[in-house]
Amino acid sequence: MAHPRELDKRRKSIRNIRKITRTMELIATARFKKAMDRAAAATPYTQRITQLVTDLTQAGLTVSHPLLEQRETTERAALLLLTANRGLCGGFNGNLIRTGLRQWEKLNETVPACRLEIAGKRGISGFKFRGQQIAQEFTHFEDKPSFAEVDVIANRYLDEYVAGKIDRLDIVYMKFHGVARQQVAVETLLPLGSLAGGSTAVPESPTHESQYEFLPSPESILEEVVPTSFKAKLFKCFLDSAVSEQVARMVAMKAATENASELIKSLSMQYNRARQGRITSELMDLIGGVEALK
Protein backbone atom coordinates (compact mmCIF):
# COMPACT_ATOMS: atom_id res chain seq x y z
CA MET A 1 0.00 0.00 0.00
CA ALA A 2 1.23 3.45 -0.92
CA HIS A 3 2.44 5.89 1.61
CA PRO A 4 -0.38 8.14 2.82
CA ARG A 5 1.80 11.22 2.64
CA GLU A 6 2.57 10.60 -1.04
CA LEU A 7 -1.07 10.17 -1.78
CA ASP A 8 -1.85 13.41 -0.04
CA LYS A 9 0.81 15.21 -2.05
CA ARG A 10 -0.61 13.94 -5.31
CA ARG A 11 -4.08 14.91 -4.26
CA LYS A 12 -2.91 18.45 -3.51
CA SER A 13 -1.27 18.86 -6.90
CA ILE A 14 -4.38 17.60 -8.65
CA ARG A 15 -6.42 20.10 -6.68
CA ASN A 16 -4.18 22.84 -8.05
CA ILE A 17 -4.62 21.55 -11.57
CA ARG A 18 -8.36 21.51 -11.09
CA LYS A 19 -8.26 25.11 -9.94
CA ILE A 20 -6.45 26.09 -13.13
CA THR A 21 -8.70 24.18 -15.49
CA ARG A 22 -11.76 25.50 -13.71
CA THR A 23 -10.56 29.08 -14.13
CA MET A 24 -9.75 28.46 -17.77
CA GLU A 25 -13.23 27.10 -18.27
CA LEU A 26 -14.76 30.21 -16.77
CA ILE A 27 -12.57 32.48 -18.88
CA ALA A 28 -13.42 30.54 -22.02
CA THR A 29 -17.11 30.80 -21.19
CA ALA A 30 -16.90 34.56 -20.82
CA ARG A 31 -14.90 34.91 -24.03
CA PHE A 32 -17.26 32.61 -25.86
CA LYS A 33 -20.22 34.80 -24.95
CA LYS A 34 -18.42 37.87 -26.23
CA ALA A 35 -17.30 36.18 -29.43
CA MET A 36 -20.81 34.87 -29.95
CA ASP A 37 -22.25 38.37 -29.60
CA ARG A 38 -19.78 39.66 -32.14
CA ALA A 39 -20.70 36.92 -34.57
CA ALA A 40 -24.37 37.67 -34.05
CA ALA A 41 -23.77 41.37 -34.61
CA ALA A 42 -22.16 40.60 -37.95
CA THR A 43 -25.14 38.79 -39.42
CA PRO A 44 -27.30 41.84 -40.29
CA TYR A 45 -24.58 43.01 -42.66
CA THR A 46 -24.42 39.75 -44.60
CA GLN A 47 -28.20 39.56 -44.64
CA ARG A 48 -28.47 43.01 -46.11
CA ILE A 49 -25.81 42.32 -48.71
CA THR A 50 -27.77 39.25 -49.74
CA GLN A 51 -30.93 41.32 -49.88
CA LEU A 52 -29.18 43.86 -52.03
CA VAL A 53 -28.02 41.18 -54.44
CA THR A 54 -31.53 39.74 -54.66
CA ASP A 55 -32.89 43.17 -55.46
CA LEU A 56 -30.19 43.68 -58.05
CA THR A 57 -30.96 40.41 -59.78
CA GLN A 58 -34.65 41.22 -59.71
CA ALA A 59 -33.85 44.34 -61.65
CA GLY A 60 -33.05 42.03 -64.52
CA LEU A 61 -29.31 42.21 -64.13
CA THR A 62 -27.29 39.17 -65.03
CA VAL A 63 -24.71 38.70 -62.33
CA SER A 64 -21.31 38.50 -63.90
CA HIS A 65 -18.06 39.66 -62.47
CA PRO A 66 -14.45 38.51 -62.84
CA LEU A 67 -14.43 37.41 -59.19
CA LEU A 68 -17.38 35.11 -59.77
CA GLU A 69 -16.11 33.25 -62.78
CA GLN A 70 -14.14 30.06 -62.68
CA ARG A 71 -10.81 30.41 -64.42
CA GLU A 72 -10.12 28.03 -67.27
CA THR A 73 -6.89 26.79 -65.82
CA THR A 74 -5.86 27.00 -62.20
CA GLU A 75 -2.14 27.62 -62.23
CA ARG A 76 -1.66 29.22 -58.86
CA ALA A 77 -3.62 28.61 -55.73
CA ALA A 78 -3.49 29.73 -52.14
CA LEU A 79 -4.63 27.92 -49.04
CA LEU A 80 -5.53 29.77 -45.89
CA LEU A 81 -5.75 27.83 -42.65
CA LEU A 82 -7.28 29.35 -39.54
CA THR A 83 -6.11 27.87 -36.26
CA ALA A 84 -5.79 29.13 -32.71
CA ASN A 85 -2.85 30.87 -31.08
CA ARG A 86 -3.16 28.77 -27.94
CA GLY A 87 -3.61 25.12 -27.16
CA LEU A 88 -5.59 23.40 -24.43
CA CYS A 89 -8.74 23.37 -26.50
CA GLY A 90 -9.28 19.69 -27.16
CA GLY A 91 -9.13 18.50 -30.73
CA PHE A 92 -9.60 21.95 -32.21
CA ASN A 93 -6.12 22.54 -33.58
CA GLY A 94 -5.40 18.88 -34.27
CA ASN A 95 -8.45 18.47 -36.46
CA LEU A 96 -7.72 21.65 -38.35
CA ILE A 97 -4.11 20.74 -38.98
CA ARG A 98 -5.04 17.25 -40.16
CA THR A 99 -7.68 18.49 -42.58
CA GLY A 100 -5.46 21.36 -43.65
CA LEU A 101 -2.62 19.01 -44.43
CA ARG A 102 -4.86 16.75 -46.47
CA GLN A 103 -6.26 19.69 -48.41
CA TRP A 104 -2.76 21.07 -48.92
CA GLU A 105 -1.56 17.77 -50.38
CA LYS A 106 -4.61 17.53 -52.60
CA LEU A 107 -4.05 21.05 -53.84
CA ASN A 108 -0.41 20.35 -54.54
CA GLU A 109 -1.34 17.38 -56.70
CA THR A 110 -3.70 19.31 -58.93
CA VAL A 111 -2.22 22.78 -59.02
CA PRO A 112 1.39 23.43 -60.05
CA ALA A 113 2.11 26.46 -57.84
CA CYS A 114 0.58 26.59 -54.39
CA ARG A 115 1.01 28.90 -51.48
CA LEU A 116 0.22 28.22 -47.87
CA GLU A 117 -0.90 30.83 -45.38
CA ILE A 118 -1.68 30.10 -41.78
CA ALA A 119 -3.24 32.12 -38.99
CA GLY A 120 -2.54 31.00 -35.44
CA LYS A 121 0.64 29.84 -33.72
CA ARG A 122 -0.58 26.27 -33.29
CA GLY A 123 -1.11 25.73 -37.00
CA ILE A 124 2.19 27.39 -37.86
CA SER A 125 4.20 25.18 -35.53
CA GLY A 126 2.21 22.12 -36.60
CA PHE A 127 3.03 22.65 -40.26
CA LYS A 128 6.64 23.57 -39.58
CA PHE A 129 7.02 20.34 -37.65
CA ARG A 130 5.77 18.47 -40.70
CA GLY A 131 8.32 20.27 -42.85
CA GLN A 132 5.98 22.45 -44.87
CA GLN A 133 6.87 25.84 -46.23
CA ILE A 134 4.60 28.61 -45.02
CA ALA A 135 4.40 31.69 -47.20
CA GLN A 136 2.61 33.91 -44.74
CA GLU A 137 1.94 33.70 -41.04
CA PHE A 138 -0.56 35.62 -38.98
CA THR A 139 -0.45 35.54 -35.22
CA HIS A 140 -2.29 38.75 -34.40
CA PHE A 141 -5.78 37.25 -34.54
CA GLU A 142 -6.99 36.54 -31.04
CA ASP A 143 -10.51 35.93 -29.86
CA LYS A 144 -11.69 39.25 -31.29
CA PRO A 145 -10.75 39.57 -34.96
CA SER A 146 -11.59 43.08 -36.13
CA PHE A 147 -12.84 43.87 -39.59
CA ALA A 148 -10.01 46.31 -40.20
CA GLU A 149 -7.46 43.50 -39.72
CA VAL A 150 -9.32 41.09 -41.97
CA ASP A 151 -9.86 43.85 -44.52
CA VAL A 152 -6.10 44.16 -45.08
CA ILE A 153 -5.80 40.46 -45.90
CA ALA A 154 -8.96 40.47 -48.01
CA ASN A 155 -7.71 43.39 -50.07
CA ARG A 156 -4.44 41.62 -50.70
CA TYR A 157 -6.23 38.51 -51.94
CA LEU A 158 -8.49 40.58 -54.17
CA ASP A 159 -5.53 42.40 -55.66
CA GLU A 160 -3.64 39.18 -56.27
CA TYR A 161 -6.66 37.52 -57.80
CA VAL A 162 -7.34 40.41 -60.15
CA ALA A 163 -3.66 40.62 -61.08
CA GLY A 164 -3.65 36.88 -61.80
CA LYS A 165 -1.17 35.99 -59.08
CA ILE A 166 -3.63 33.49 -57.67
CA ASP A 167 -6.40 31.69 -59.52
CA ARG A 168 -8.00 30.13 -56.53
CA LEU A 169 -8.25 30.67 -52.80
CA ASP A 170 -9.26 27.91 -50.42
CA ILE A 171 -9.88 28.31 -46.74
CA VAL A 172 -9.85 25.69 -44.00
CA TYR A 173 -11.51 26.75 -40.77
CA MET A 174 -13.77 25.56 -37.98
CA LYS A 175 -17.32 26.31 -38.96
CA PHE A 176 -19.66 27.11 -36.12
CA HIS A 177 -23.02 25.36 -36.41
CA GLY A 178 -24.06 25.71 -32.80
CA VAL A 179 -22.70 25.33 -29.29
CA ALA A 180 -22.79 21.55 -29.57
CA ARG A 181 -21.46 21.27 -33.09
CA GLN A 182 -18.47 22.71 -34.88
CA GLN A 183 -17.04 21.23 -38.00
CA VAL A 184 -13.90 21.65 -39.99
CA ALA A 185 -14.93 23.24 -43.26
CA VAL A 186 -13.02 23.50 -46.52
CA GLU A 187 -14.36 26.24 -48.74
CA THR A 188 -13.31 27.91 -51.93
CA LEU A 189 -13.58 31.66 -51.46
CA LEU A 190 -12.17 32.76 -54.77
CA PRO A 191 -13.69 32.49 -57.33
CA LEU A 192 -16.75 33.31 -55.30
CA GLY A 193 -19.11 31.08 -57.23
CA SER A 194 -22.39 32.51 -56.06
CA LEU A 195 -23.28 35.76 -54.43
CA ALA A 196 -26.16 34.39 -52.43
CA GLY A 197 -24.00 34.42 -49.31
CA GLY A 198 -24.10 30.75 -48.49
CA SER A 199 -26.86 28.22 -48.27
CA THR A 200 -28.45 30.04 -45.35
CA ALA A 201 -30.01 32.57 -47.69
CA VAL A 202 -33.62 31.62 -48.05
CA PRO A 203 -35.04 32.71 -51.38
CA GLU A 204 -37.23 35.41 -50.01
CA SER A 205 -40.31 36.61 -51.69
CA PRO A 206 -39.67 40.08 -53.04
CA THR A 207 -40.21 42.41 -50.13
CA HIS A 208 -40.54 45.43 -52.29
CA GLU A 209 -42.47 45.24 -55.48
CA SER A 210 -41.13 48.65 -56.25
CA GLN A 211 -38.75 49.45 -59.02
CA TYR A 212 -35.48 50.67 -57.67
CA GLU A 213 -33.64 53.62 -58.95
CA PHE A 214 -29.95 52.80 -59.25
CA LEU A 215 -27.27 55.37 -58.66
CA PRO A 216 -25.11 55.32 -60.71
CA SER A 217 -26.10 52.04 -62.42
CA PRO A 218 -26.81 48.42 -61.46
CA GLU A 219 -23.53 47.32 -63.07
CA SER A 220 -21.47 49.76 -61.09
CA ILE A 221 -23.15 48.74 -57.86
CA LEU A 222 -22.59 45.09 -58.63
CA GLU A 223 -18.94 45.83 -59.23
CA GLU A 224 -18.75 47.09 -55.66
CA VAL A 225 -20.99 44.46 -54.11
CA VAL A 226 -18.87 41.51 -55.21
CA PRO A 227 -15.65 42.47 -53.37
CA THR A 228 -17.69 43.59 -50.36
CA SER A 229 -19.42 40.26 -50.25
CA PHE A 230 -16.06 38.48 -50.42
CA LYS A 231 -14.79 40.52 -47.50
CA ALA A 232 -17.90 39.81 -45.47
CA LYS A 233 -17.49 36.10 -46.17
CA LEU A 234 -13.85 36.06 -45.13
CA PHE A 235 -14.65 38.03 -42.01
CA LYS A 236 -17.38 35.54 -41.15
CA CYS A 237 -14.82 32.72 -41.38
CA PHE A 238 -12.56 34.48 -38.90
CA LEU A 239 -15.45 35.11 -36.51
CA ASP A 240 -16.61 31.50 -36.75
CA SER A 241 -13.12 30.29 -36.04
CA ALA A 242 -12.84 32.51 -32.96
CA VAL A 243 -16.17 31.36 -31.56
CA SER A 244 -15.41 27.70 -32.22
CA GLU A 245 -12.06 27.98 -30.47
CA GLN A 246 -13.67 29.28 -27.31
CA VAL A 247 -16.35 26.59 -27.39
CA ALA A 248 -13.72 23.90 -27.85
CA ARG A 249 -11.69 25.24 -24.95
CA MET A 250 -14.76 25.49 -22.77
CA VAL A 251 -15.70 21.88 -23.41
CA ALA A 252 -12.14 20.60 -23.01
CA MET A 253 -11.62 22.43 -19.74
CA LYS A 254 -14.96 21.29 -18.37
CA ALA A 255 -13.98 17.69 -19.07
CA ALA A 256 -10.56 18.25 -17.48
CA THR A 257 -12.13 19.70 -14.34
CA GLU A 258 -14.50 16.77 -14.06
CA ASN A 259 -11.69 14.29 -14.52
CA ALA A 260 -9.64 16.02 -11.85
CA SER A 261 -12.56 15.85 -9.43
CA GLU A 262 -12.93 12.15 -10.05
CA LEU A 263 -9.25 11.54 -9.55
CA ILE A 264 -9.33 13.45 -6.28
CA LYS A 265 -12.21 11.33 -5.11
CA SER A 266 -10.44 8.07 -5.78
CA LEU A 267 -7.18 9.35 -4.34
CA SER A 268 -8.97 10.46 -1.17
CA MET A 269 -10.40 6.99 -0.82
CA GLN A 270 -6.96 5.43 -1.21
CA TYR A 271 -5.47 7.91 1.20
CA ASN A 272 -8.07 7.22 3.87
CA ARG A 273 -7.62 3.49 3.47
CA ALA A 274 -3.87 3.74 3.77
CA ARG A 275 -4.18 5.96 6.82
CA GLN A 276 -6.64 3.63 8.49
CA GLY A 277 -4.43 0.68 7.60
CA ARG A 278 -1.47 2.29 9.29
CA ILE A 279 -3.41 3.10 12.44
CA THR A 280 -4.67 -0.45 12.60
CA SER A 281 -1.24 -1.92 12.22
CA GLU A 282 0.15 0.40 14.89
CA LEU A 283 -2.61 -0.65 17.24
CA MET A 284 -1.84 -4.28 16.51
CA ASP A 285 1.78 -3.61 17.40
CA LEU A 286 0.80 -1.99 20.69
CA ILE A 287 -1.57 -4.78 21.62
CA GLY A 288 1.08 -7.30 20.70
CA GLY A 289 3.58 -5.50 22.95
CA VAL A 290 1.15 -5.41 25.87
CA GLU A 291 0.36 -9.09 25.44
CA ALA A 292 4.10 -9.90 25.46
CA LEU A 293 4.61 -7.99 28.74
CA LYS A 294 1.97 -10.03 30.57
Binding site: A42, P44, I49, S146, F147, V162, F214
Partner: protein
Protein backbone atom coordinates in the same frame (compact mmCIF):
# COMPACT_ATOMS: atom_id res chain seq x y z
CA UNK B 1 -40.55 59.42 -39.61
CA UNK B 2 -37.80 57.72 -41.56
CA UNK B 3 -36.08 54.75 -40.07
CA UNK B 4 -32.35 54.82 -40.53
CA UNK B 5 -30.26 51.69 -40.04
CA UNK B 6 -26.51 51.70 -40.40
CA UNK B 7 -24.73 48.36 -40.40
CA UNK B 8 -21.04 47.57 -40.63
CA UNK B 9 -19.51 44.08 -40.85
CA UNK B 10 -18.84 44.24 -37.11
CA UNK B 11 -22.08 45.57 -35.73
CA UNK B 12 -25.24 47.52 -36.25
CA UNK B 13 -24.00 51.00 -35.50
CA UNK B 14 -27.23 52.90 -35.69
CA UNK B 15 -30.91 52.15 -35.69
CA UNK B 16 -32.85 55.34 -35.13
CA UNK B 17 -35.61 57.46 -36.51
CA UNK B 18 -35.01 60.70 -38.30
CA UNK B 19 -36.93 63.25 -40.32
CA UNK B 20 -34.24 63.72 -42.87
CA UNK B 21 -31.09 61.84 -43.82
CA UNK B 22 -28.25 63.22 -45.90
CA UNK B 23 -25.88 60.70 -47.44
CA UNK B 24 -22.56 60.96 -49.26
CA UNK B 25 -23.14 59.28 -52.62
CA UNK B 26 -20.22 58.44 -54.88
CA UNK B 27 -20.52 61.76 -56.75
CA UNK B 28 -22.14 64.08 -54.25
CA UNK B 29 -24.64 64.36 -51.48
CA UNK B 30 -28.19 63.10 -51.57
CA UNK B 31 -30.96 64.01 -49.20
CA UNK B 32 -33.63 61.52 -48.28
CA UNK B 33 -36.92 62.75 -46.88
CA UNK B 34 -40.15 61.03 -46.04
CA UNK B 35 -41.68 59.08 -48.91
CA UNK B 36 -38.55 58.98 -51.04
CA UNK B 37 -38.75 56.70 -54.05
CA UNK B 38 -36.97 53.33 -53.78
CA UNK B 39 -33.30 53.64 -54.45
CA UNK B 40 -30.07 51.68 -54.36
CA UNK B 41 -26.95 53.74 -54.47
CA UNK B 42 -23.23 53.55 -54.08
CA UNK B 43 -21.76 55.60 -51.29
CA UNK B 44 -18.59 57.60 -51.27
CA UNK B 45 -16.59 58.83 -48.32
CA UNK B 46 -18.14 61.62 -46.33
CA UNK B 47 -20.68 62.83 -43.89
CA UNK B 48 -23.87 61.05 -42.97
CA UNK B 49 -26.28 63.50 -41.37
CA UNK B 50 -29.43 62.68 -39.48
CA UNK B 51 -31.90 65.37 -38.58
CA UNK B 52 -34.78 64.88 -36.25
CA UNK B 53 -36.46 67.97 -34.90
CA UNK B 54 -33.83 70.56 -34.06
CA UNK B 55 -31.11 68.02 -33.54
CA UNK B 56 -28.61 67.06 -36.19
CA UNK B 57 -26.11 64.28 -35.67
CA UNK B 58 -23.15 63.73 -37.95
CA UNK B 59 -21.36 60.51 -38.77
CA UNK B 60 -18.58 59.55 -41.08
CA UNK B 61 -19.46 56.87 -43.64
CA UNK B 62 -16.71 54.91 -45.33
CA UNK B 63 -18.07 53.89 -48.70
CA UNK B 64 -20.58 51.10 -49.18
CA UNK B 65 -24.18 51.14 -50.27
CA UNK B 66 -27.52 52.62 -49.41
CA UNK B 67 -30.90 51.11 -49.95
CA UNK B 68 -34.05 53.16 -49.56
CA UNK B 69 -37.48 51.56 -49.57
CA UNK B 70 -40.70 52.03 -47.63
CA UNK B 71 -39.26 54.87 -45.57
CA UNK B 72 -36.39 52.70 -44.37
CA UNK B 73 -32.89 53.89 -45.15
CA UNK B 74 -30.38 51.08 -44.74
CA UNK B 75 -26.76 51.97 -45.06
CA UNK B 76 -24.11 49.30 -45.51
CA UNK B 77 -20.67 50.64 -44.88
CA UNK B 78 -17.35 49.30 -43.74
CA UNK B 79 -16.89 51.84 -41.01
CA UNK B 80 -19.18 54.39 -39.44
CA UNK B 81 -18.41 56.60 -36.48
CA UNK B 82 -19.43 59.98 -35.09
CA UNK B 83 -17.28 62.68 -36.66
CA UNK B 84 -16.00 63.73 -33.25
CA UNK B 85 -14.21 60.40 -33.02
CA UNK B 86 -12.31 60.84 -36.25
CA UNK B 87 -8.56 61.22 -35.99
CA UNK B 88 -7.39 64.06 -38.20
CA UNK B 89 -3.73 63.24 -37.81
CA UNK B 90 -4.04 59.65 -38.93
CA UNK B 91 -6.10 60.75 -41.90
CA UNK B 92 -3.61 63.48 -42.79
CA UNK B 93 -0.84 60.91 -42.67
CA UNK B 94 -2.81 58.64 -45.00
CA UNK B 95 -3.35 61.54 -47.38
CA UNK B 96 0.36 62.38 -47.39
CA UNK B 97 1.37 58.81 -48.13
CA UNK B 98 -1.28 58.49 -50.83
CA UNK B 99 -0.12 61.69 -52.49
CA UNK B 100 3.52 60.66 -52.49
CA UNK B 101 2.84 57.15 -53.73
CA UNK B 102 3.60 56.47 -57.34
CA UNK B 103 1.02 54.45 -59.19
CA UNK B 104 1.11 52.87 -62.59
CA UNK B 105 -1.78 51.27 -64.39
CA UNK B 106 -5.46 52.00 -64.13
CA UNK B 107 -6.09 49.84 -61.08
CA UNK B 108 -3.37 51.37 -58.97
CA UNK B 109 -4.29 54.90 -59.91
CA UNK B 110 -7.90 54.23 -59.03
CA UNK B 111 -6.87 52.78 -55.69
CA UNK B 112 -4.66 55.72 -54.92
CA UNK B 113 -7.49 58.07 -55.79
CA UNK B 114 -9.78 56.21 -53.41
CA UNK B 115 -7.30 56.40 -50.62
CA UNK B 116 -6.93 60.13 -51.21
CA UNK B 117 -10.68 60.71 -51.28
CA UNK B 118 -11.10 58.72 -48.11
CA UNK B 119 -8.38 60.63 -46.29
CA UNK B 120 -9.59 64.03 -47.54
CA UNK B 121 -13.13 63.35 -46.36
CA UNK B 122 -11.85 62.32 -42.95
CA UNK B 123 -9.63 65.35 -42.59
CA UNK B 124 -12.44 67.66 -43.64
CA UNK B 125 -14.93 66.19 -41.20
CA UNK B 126 -12.47 65.96 -38.35
CA UNK B 127 -11.52 69.63 -38.62
CA UNK B 128 -15.18 70.57 -38.82
CA UNK B 129 -15.88 68.56 -35.69
CA UNK B 130 -13.14 70.48 -33.87
CA UNK B 131 -14.44 73.87 -35.02
CA UNK B 132 -17.93 73.22 -33.73
Amino acid sequence: MLQCIVVTPEATVLDTEAEFVALPLYDGEIGIGLGHSPLIGRLGYGELRLRSGEETSSYYADGGFVQVADNVVSVLTERCLPITELDAEVAAEQLRSALSRSASGEDQVARRQRSQDQARAQVRLATRAVQR
